[in-house]
Symmetry: C2
Subunit: 236 residues, 2 copies
DNA sequence: CGTAGGACCTTCCGTGGCGGGAGGTTCAAG
DNA sequence: CTTGAACCTCCCGCCACGGAAGGTCCTACG
């Protein structure tokens, strides 16, 4: 029994017949022989190649990567190194997501989850875990209706600022300056008008944005804060 | 400007126009209004919904999950908990992959990478990091040709054993018993015939298979080792 | 030696979350 | 009024297969 039928090979390798068909279709693992009626016969060499493919796939490579790895075996090492780097990034992203979810679930009531998420989304990664709980207690103090209103205004503000920024409107443009003023007014209401808290929030942002960016894999700072700072300066 | 055009909304939210089209198509975020000529006009409520969607997506939920989360907000908490569990599993898988890749890259010559991988693939997670280096030094001692031959035989053996196992052939079947005997003979050559090493390898397997299974997310032990053990007993 | 029922064949549609292009219409600034 | 950017719909493509349809083939049993 030196030739393998596709079904037996599927059983032995743990893959499905459909997968073997697919590998054949794309020319990755082709059955070298066929019976007169067209049934695939896998030779020992085919089987070896299949196992090579399977092992490379288990390391998380794509079929294209597997193909190129098998065509030039000297490219294995750089390919693996690239894959390792990608996996490291991936691991960090997943871990950051986990942290955010854990922080969210920890102590939040169901109804406030969505609100908090919206704020986070609008402001991207502005809020660290600590600021999250800060926000929660403050929201409780203000009452749900005030929070709703505040949220809507905030959303609109950031929204419009982002659009201006993406358009390349200079920060000194009167419309932008006006929006920045409203940003500050809103922030004042949110922080209870306490300048110490505002200053602390700004410091926290400055200190954390670099590490946040590193953690989550994409730039935490899209320049919005700097944009507002410039507009604030232009107002004088 | 209480209505948003699709382009401006894309700029402000950081999504693409195509994505907004897609959300509209599937009814996830629909522009409530249209101009007489058919251009989408997003109302503030639409914008809010879009940001809710975006925030939930950033937590790694699928569009379907987002949809159901927004339809019944009391399902948020269980959904998040499920997502957290999934992420935890995912994090472990990625970490295990990273560990395997690191172990592989650490000290391996390029040409031996593929061979080692094949062995790993055939035997699934049999080999721990320590056994990997063990294998490497032994392979160096045997010489490349012997390794090639050994590998091919090994591949064939495991292959056929798996097929029998998947077919439900009893371990006492003479064909299986014969394959098991050849397994042991091959193992003897690989371990240099040293029974202490063989025993150590078996102990290592028994001790590690549970933790390995947990780490990598799929069952490390498909029953092959037990199958061979039974066949060995039947020969006894 | 016939036949039944599994194994195998090709072909095609579907998945998720959009990317990107074609070909046509509409809007807004100068 | 013109022109170029923005918008529209429709459609194919990606990745790695899953799964079904509809037909042919192989093999073990009677």
């Amino acid at each position: 029994m030196t030739r393998w039928s596709i079904g037996d090979l599927a059983k032995a390798s743990g893959l499905t017949v459909r997968t073997l068909h697919h590998y054949d279709e794309i020319g990755l693992v082709v059955a070298s022989e066929r019976t007169p009626s067209g049934h695939r016969r896998y030779t020992p060499d085919d089987v070896r190649r299949l196992y090579q493919v399977r092992s490379l796939r288990q390391l998380g490579l794509s079929l294209e990567e597997v193909r190129s790895a098998l065509s030039r075996s000297d490219s294995l090492r750089p390919l693996f190194e690239a894959q390792l780097a990608a996996l490291t990034t991936r691991a960090r992203q997943v871990e950051a997501l986990r942290a955010r979810l854990t922080a969210l679930l920890d102590g939040h009531t169901t109804e406030s989850l969505l609100s908090t998420l919206e704020m986070m989304s609008v402001h991207e990664s502005y809020f660290t875990g600590g600021q999250l709980s800060e926000m929660r207690s403050r929201a409780a103090a203000l009452g749900p209706e005030a929070v709703e209103e505040l949220k809507a205004s905030w959303l609109g503000l950031v929204q419009q600022l982002r659009a201006h920024m993406a358009d390349g409107t200079p920060a000194s443009d009167p419309r932008v300056v006006d929006l920045a003023a409203r940003w500050d007014a809103l922030g004042a209401r949110f922080t209870g008008g306490d300048p110490a808290i505002q200053a602390a929030a700004r410091r926290s942002w400055e200190e954390n944005k670099a590490s946040i960016s590193g953690q989550i894999g994409w730039p935490a700072d899209d320049g919005l804060v700097e944009y507002v700072t410039q507009a604030r300066a232009a107002r004088g």
